[in-house]
Amino acid sequence: MSGIEIGRLLRSGTTGFVVGCKVQQSGAPSFGAMVRVPLEEGYQVYGLIYDIHIDDDGLIRQLITAENISEEVLRDNRENRTVPVEIGVLALGYEENGQVAHLLPPRPPLSLDVIYLCTPEEVVRFTGAGRLGYLRQILRDPKLPTDELLTAHLRQARAAHEAGGDQGWFGEAVQEVIALLKDDRQRLMAVLAAASEI
């Protein structure tokens, strides 16, 4: 399997994990993108980026008070100084021995495991397997920006499916979201309003 390496695992739990990467690596991942963490032979965890976070420090705060920042200082801070970008990932499911499961992973990734951005083919394989059960994970956590996250994910997954010749996946996904949120009209309307922009 191939893919763009975006960083290594800082900390993890059953429902999600946090990835650290250098600033120059952070050009690759974006909000709503799918990632995977190969753990052992035949087993890997899939997730969705819900937060990209950059911490400050004393020097950064001081540099901000200066009138202008030279290119050399900019590059020094982005490339030499160890200020990692932290990427929050929501666990969506896993793959074991070729079987995709839209359930929380039985074992979370470990410290310093490498995280890859999913290719369009991998997005299609994961989201096209089963009956879109992984959407539950996205809608479950009320602290997540669900509307925006779901929209970003559906946009990416729709493009991957349609590029592979599957024009019907997006409609099925929207129907599944409606079914999952049928008892929460307020959130459903918000999600559909966001999804209508795709």
Binding site: L63, E72, V73, D76, N80
Partner: protein, 396 residues
């Protein structure tokens, strides 16, 4: 609670009163010194004569001597060239301790280089050295002092800087944090003379290659110019009668206070002075240390740094102008807290954290155990100190 705040509170009024009285004395002395500085601004030969005369009776004399510019000179900053190379070095150390499980010392030096105007990423070089066991535990039984470690660190900083700056495109400036002058308490450490010889060799390396070297001192406590002005005889008979007393009283004013009123604009520098001291004079003339003051603050908020340079730099006005422009540029990068960006970065790279200290100690302990050596224990004092730092529930 470890500090009895009631006791502190009782003392605050008199403490503040003392501070106020001290401040008033300093202001009065400052006025006198400013008057003398202006009165003798162009009388450089007279001042040099007075210093030489004083040195005849005072072998421990330490003061400033003017180079070739009027004392009240204010030299504005010139523009920075489009391309200039900078290198900064800083170091940190783990001092050997009787209380540790094993006696050891580590020197960590960081050098950062920046090709200003190139748009390139600065380069970072770090060098870590575990000092020889025989150096840390000396044959006669003593342990290497903190001053000795600091001196070795200073020398290593400058050696690495010399290696790095030699490869940079000209014009290039090498800088260290703190004075270029080796100021240590000779009684506190042995072998000071051999350090001075080694240091002279390093400085000679910079000089022979024509490299620009400087030491940057923030919030300088130095009063060498004030001491020099204290030697000037007073105009009034009363003061002349009490000349020795008034000299001593004038020496407590920091030079940055004296220069602050002159150097009004960012980038302004003072006249250049030579350091007159027994150690400074032991160097060959080309290497002797000089200094000037530089305003790196904002238009309405002056902030003076002291810049030390060797003689071959001090006497080359183009090099001094380049230093002035480069330091102003570097310090302005830090916004409201002017300090050379690159020196701060070198400090970051050199700094040994407490965790790293512990990792190194564990590595050494492991190596000792694998070699069948006995490893001591933490002293009880250190053990209890560490335990105190972790206390949570039993604080009073």
């Amino acid at each position: 609670m470890p500090v009895n705040l009631i006791d502190i509170q009782k003392k605050l009024a008199s403490f503040s009163h003392q501070a106020k009285a001290h401040h008033q004395r300093v202001v009065s002395r400052l006025e006198t010194l400013q008057e003398r500085l202006l009165a003798y601004a162009d009388r450089l030969d007279e001042i040099k004569f007075m210093v030489n005369h004083e040195a005849e009776t005072n072998p421990r004399l330490r003061c400033a001597v003017p180079l070739d510019e009027p004392l009240d000179s204010v030299i504005p900053v010139s523009s920075l060239p489009e391309r200039i190379s900078l290198a900064a070095a800083d170091g940190s150390q783990i001092n050997p301790s009787h209380h540790a499980r094993v006696p050891f010392s580590v020197i960590n030096v960081g050098v950062v280089t920046m090709a200003c105007g190139s748009g390139e990423t600065p380069k970072v070089i770090t060098e870590s050295a575990l000092l020889d066991y025989d150096t840390v535990l000396q044959p006669e039984g003593g342990m290497l002092s903190e001053g000795g470690v600091a001196m070795k660190r200073d020398l290593r900083e400058r050696v690495l800087l010399l290696e790095v700056v030699d490869d940079l495109p000209a014009p290039a400036i090498a800088m260290v944090d703190g004075p270029l002058e080796l100021i240590r308490d000779p009684q506190a450490m042995g072998g000071f003379e051999s350090f001075v010889v080694e240091y002279e060799t390093i400085l000679t390396g910079f000089w022979q290659k024509g490299l620009t070297l400087l030491g940057y001192i923030d919030k300088s406590q130095n009063n060498l110019v004030g001491r020099m002005l204290s030697m000037i005889p007073s105009d009034t008979a009363e003061e002349r009668d009490n000349h020795k007393e008034s000299d001593r009283n004038l020496s407590g004013v920091r030079d940055i206070r004296l220069m602050e009123t002159l150097l009004g604009n960012p980038g302004d520098r003072s006249a250049i002075f030579e350091v007159y001291s027994r150690t400074a004079l032991s160097f060959r003339p080309e290497l002797r240390l000089h200094f000037f003051y530089l305003n790196v603050g904002a238009p309405d908020r002056p902030h003076l740094a002291r810049v030390e340079v060797p003689a071959w730099v001090a006497k080359d006005k183009e090099k001094v102008a380049l230093i002035q422009a480069a330091l102003l540029d570097q310090t302005q990068m830090m916004g409201s807290r002017p300090y050379p960006y690159l020196l701060h970065r070198a400090h970051e790279e050199a700094l040994i954290s407490l965790d790293e200290h512990q990792w190194v100690e564990e590595l050494i302990v492991k190596a000792f155990l694998e070699d069948g050596l006995d490893v001591g224990e933490l002293s009880n004092k250190q053990f209890l100190k560490d335990m105190d730092m972790k206390k949570t529930r039993y604080q009073r």
